[in-house]
Symmetry: C2
Subunit: 468 residues, 2 copies
C-alpha cells in the first residue's frame, strides 16, 4: 500500500471553505457521508476520502473552483460515477472532489454530422437514450454506465472498440479548465484537422491530471441496419483465441468479440440464472447491412467450426441479444459473487493479437500456480483481456499474492510488446508499470508536460506520473 | 511575408561544423546546391536555405546531432521529401536540415498484427511496394509520395481518410529524439492502451517542433477483397456535394470520395490527355467483399442519380482504376499547368459535413469575386477541400489578393465550426489562423508544452506556435 494514502493532511483553510459554501450553497459539502461516497471506487484500494465535495453546473463554475483551489493550494479530483478500477478518484493527497453528476446535459446532437456535444456527467446509457429515434448511437461500452467525462479521462473502450475504436478515436474535441483556471477549447467538429498540437488526445487518457473536462464533442455512428449476435463454445481457450486471431486477420469487421473462460461462464450461470454450457466461450456481434452481417457471420462460423467450436447459437431478436449482453455485462459482479465478501483486483493487459494465445496461456498457468480464483474475460478482438483476481480484503497475504500475480501478467504482456493497461488507466496503482512500459525518458517527457500545465500539482495528484 | 525569413543569421560555429564533418563525412554538407535543395518545398513561400544539411542513418546519430545542436544553439529542421505545402521545411531562422532520406528501411512487417515498423524516410509508395504479396496495405495517401515521418509530423491524410482515418489513427507508436537529446519510445504495438499521456498523438502533427521522429509503427489494413471505382458528373457542385453528404450520412463505408470542379477536370484533360466531361465530378472508390462493394456502389449510384448525376462510369479493372486515380493525383500539377510559370497557394479547410455545401458555395463566390484562377478539389467525404490559387510569383499584388482569398475561406470555415487546415498543417504561414481557431488559452497551452519539451526553441523554430 502506498504510504501517501495515510500521509497527514493539512485541513482545508476556513476561508476556502467559506468561499465555496458561499458560492455553491448546498452544492458544496464537507459531510462525512458525502465525502465517504466520493472516497472509494470499484478498485481494491482502501478508501481515501476527499476533504469536501462540490457539484458544479457550468464550465465557469469549474473555473471558479479551480481558481479558489489554486489560491489556497488545494488539490482537485474530478469525479464521474465512481466506476474507476484503478483508484483514479481516491483523494490520496486530500483535496476536494469535483462531482460532475449535475453537469449531465446533452447540449446538442448534430445528426447530420454524427456528433453530439455533452457535459461530462452524461453517462453513455443516457446519451444513447437521448439519441433514440435519431438513427445514431454512441458505441463505446466499457460495461459500467460510466460518465463520458470519466471515460474520456481514462481513455476507456470496452466491447465495441474492435470495430468503433476507443475514446481516443471518438472524442472530437472538448472544453477543459486548466490548472491556471483558464478555459480551453480543443479540437472541433471537423472530422480531421492538422491544426496545431493534439490537445484533445493529450487530455483523453490524462486521468484528470492535466485539466478538468467540462464539455465533450463525441462522435456518433449510424445504427447498423442489421445486427446479429452469437455465442459459441470451444474445447479449450486456445481454440477460442485462434478463432479470434483468424477473424481479425481476415479483416472481418466484427463489432464485438468477447472471450469468457469456463469459470466465468459458471459465474454467469449462477448470477444471471442462465444455462450456458460451462466451457470457454466467445460472444460475437455483427453490425452492417443484412447481407453484410450474414456474410460476416458465415465467415466466422466457419472459422469457429474449423477450431472445434460447438453449439453456435444465434440471437437476432433484440431481446435475445440484450439478454446475452446483459449476462456479459454482469460478468464483473457475477465473478465477485463466486466468493462472497471478496473484492476484485482486475488486470488489464493488452497485447498484439499475434501474441494473444501466448499471453493468455501464460496467464492461465500463473493463475493455476498462484492458487487464487481468477476468472478471465476479454475484449479479445483488440488483444485486451482481464483477469478478476478475487481476494479477501482482510487477508493481506492473499492481496500480496494477487498483486504478485498481476505483476507477472503485466511483465509478460510487456515482454510480448503489449501494454499494462488496455482501458482502465494507470491511476493510483500502476505508476511502476508505466515506467516499465515506456522507459524513463518517455515518462520524464510526460512529467515535463504535467509540470508545464500544472506546476503546483493540484490536478489529481498522486495519479499517473510516478513521484508527483 | 514574414520578416523572419530575412532576419540576419549567426553563421554556424566552426567547431560545430568540424564536429559534424568529422562524424558524418560526406553525409554532412554546407554546399550551396545541397542547401538550396533543402530550402524550398511545394508552398509559395520564398526559399529559406538551411546553413547545412546532414543525413543520419540511425536514431543514435540523430541523438548526436541534437546534442551538438543543443551545445551550439543551432536549430534543427527535419526534412522528408520536401512535399510540404506550408513551408514546414524552410529554415526561416537558419539552422541545419536533418534529411531522413537515408533512414529509409522497413524494419519489420508484422503481418499477423497488421502493423509495420519503419524508418521515417520510407515513403508511402515504398512501404506499399514492400508489402506486396502480404495481403496488407498502408492506406494513407496524401497524393505526393511523401515520407512517413513527414506524414506523421503533419498529421497527413488524403483520399482514403474517410474510410481508414488519418496519420492520427494510423501511427501506433514511434521513437523520437527530444530536444534534450534523449530518445523516447511512445505508444506500442497493442491496438489500444490507457497507459499514460498520449505522446504518440502529441508528436503526430507537431511538425518537427517537439521531437525528431526516427522510427514509426504504423497500422496496416487488409487489402480489400474487391475494389471498384467510379466517376460521375453533376449539373453543379451543389448536387455533387449533396450526394457526398447523403452517402456519409447513410453510413456507406466508402473508401474514397473526391470532388473536382469543372475547372479542375479541364486541367486534368489538358495535362493527362484524358477526355473526361468537363463538369463537376465525383470520384468514388469502394472497398470490401464482392457483395459489399456491389451493395455500396448501388446505394451511391442511386443517390447520385437522385441528385442529377450523369455518366456514372465504372472502373473495376486495376489498370483502369490506376489511370483514374493517377489523373486525380496529378491534379496539383495539372492545375499549376493552367497558368504556366505560376505557383499555387493551396487552401485546406475542413468543415463538418453538414456545412460543406455552404462552405463550398461561399468559396466559389469568393473566387469569382477575386478574379483569381482557383480550381477546387476535395476529400469531401471528410468535409475537407482545397482551392489551388494560381499566382504569378513575381506579382506581389496578386499574391496579396490570393492571401486575402485564403483568409476569407478560412474565416468562413471557422465560422462553420471547421478547421483552417484539414491535412497540410500550420507550418510557417498559418499561425494566425491557429490562434483564430483555438483561441489564446489553448494556443498558450500548446506553447507551454513546446517550451517544456524544447526550452531553447531549437526544433523547427518559427513553425506552428505564434511568436516562437
Amino acid at each position: 500500500m502506498n504510504a501517501l494514502t495515510t500521509a497527514p493532511r493539512r485541513p482545508l483553510p476556513q476561508t476556502f471553505i467559506d468561499a465555496l459554501a458561499a458560492g455553491f450553497g448546498a452544492r458544496f459539502s464537507t459531510a462525512e457521508a458525502v465525502r465517504a461516497h466520493h472516497g472509494h471506487d470499484e478498485s481494491h484500494f482502501p478508501d481515501a476520502l476527499p476533504d469536501a465535495v462540490v457539484f458544479p453546473h457550468t464550465t465557469e463554475e469549474v473555473a471558479v473552483i479551480v481558481a479558489l483551489c489554486r489560491e489556497h493550494g488545494v488539490a482537485l479530483i474530478p469525479y464521474g460515477v465512481g466506476s474507476s478500477l484503478e483508484g483514479h478518484i481516491l483523494a490520496v493527497r486530500g483535496g476536494i472532489s469535483v462531482d460532475f453528476s449535475e453537469m449531465n446535459k446533452v447540449l446538442a446532437v448534430h445528426a447530420e454530422d454524427m456528433d453530439a456535444v455533452v457535459q461530462p456527467g452524461v453517462t453513455r446509457k443516457q446519451l444513447n437514450a437521448e439519441l433514440h429515434g435519431s438513427g445514431l448511437f454512441f458505441p463505446i461500452d466499457p460495461g459500467a454506465d460510466a460518465s463520458l467525462g470519466g471515460m474520456a479521462a481514462t481513455r476507456a473502450s470496452g466491447t465495441n472498440a474492435v470495430r468503433y475504436g476507443t475514446m481516443r478515436e471518438n472524442v472530437l474535441g472538448m472544453t477543459a479548465v486548466l490548472a491556471d483556471g483558464r478555459v480551453i477549447r480543443t479540437g472541433g467538429r471537423a472530422r480531421k484537422s492538422s491544426s496545431g498540437y493534439d490537445l484533445t488526445r493529450l487530455l483523453v487518457g490524462s486521468e484528470g491530471t492535466l485539466g478538468l473536462i467540462t464539455e465533450l464533442t463525441v462522435r456518433l455512428h449510424p445504427l447498423p441496419e442489421a445486427v446479429s449476435a452469437a455465442i459459441c463454445t470451444f474445447p479449450d481457450v486456445d481454440a477460442a483465441v485462434r478463432t479470434v486471431i483468424q477473424t481479425i486477420q481476415l479483416g472481418v469487421p466484427v463489432a464485438r468479440i468477447e472471450l469468457l473462460d469456463s469459470l466465468t461462464v459458471t459465474a454467469i450461470n449462477r448470477y444471471s440464472k442462465t444455462t450456458l454450457r460451462e466451457a470457454p466461450m466467445l460472444f460475437f456481434e455483427f453490425h452492417g447491412s443484412p447481407a453484410g452481417v450474414e456474410e460476416q457471420a458465415a465467415t466466422v462460423q466457419e472459422l469457429a467450426r474449423d477450431n472445434g467450436g460447438e453449439d453456435f447459437e444465434w440471437a437476432t431478436r433484440p431481446e435475445d441479444r440484450s439478454r446475452l449482453w446483459q449476462a456479459r455485462h454482469d460478468t464483473y459482479f457475477a465473478c465477485l459473487n463466486l466468493k462472497p465478501g471478496c473484492r476484485g483486483i482486475t488486470t488489464d493487459v493488452c497485447v498484439p493479437i499475434s501474441r494473444l494465445a501466448e499471453a493468455i496461456a501464460g496467464t492461465r498457468a500463473d493463475i493455476a500456480a498462484s492458487g487464487l480464483t481468477a476468472p478471465i474475460v476479454g475484449h479479445v478482438g483488440d488483444g485486451n483481456f482481464h483477469t478478476l483476481i478475487l481476494v479477501d480484503p482482510e487477508d493481506a497475504a492473499e492481496i500480496e499474492r494477487a498483486e504478485a500475480l498481476n505483476r507477472r501478467i503485466v511483465e509478460r504482456a510487456l515482454a510480448l510488446d503489449g501494454t499494462c493497461t488496455g482501458e482502465h488507466g494507470i491511476g493510483f496503482g500502476k505508476q511502476d508499470f508505466l515506467l516499465a512500459e515506456h522507459g524513463e525518458a518517455a515518462v520524464d517527457a510526460m512529467r515535463l508536460v504535467k509540470q508545464a500545465l500544472d506546476p503546483h500539482n493540484l490536478l489529481n495528484p498522486g495519479k499517473v506520473i510516478p513521484g508527483l
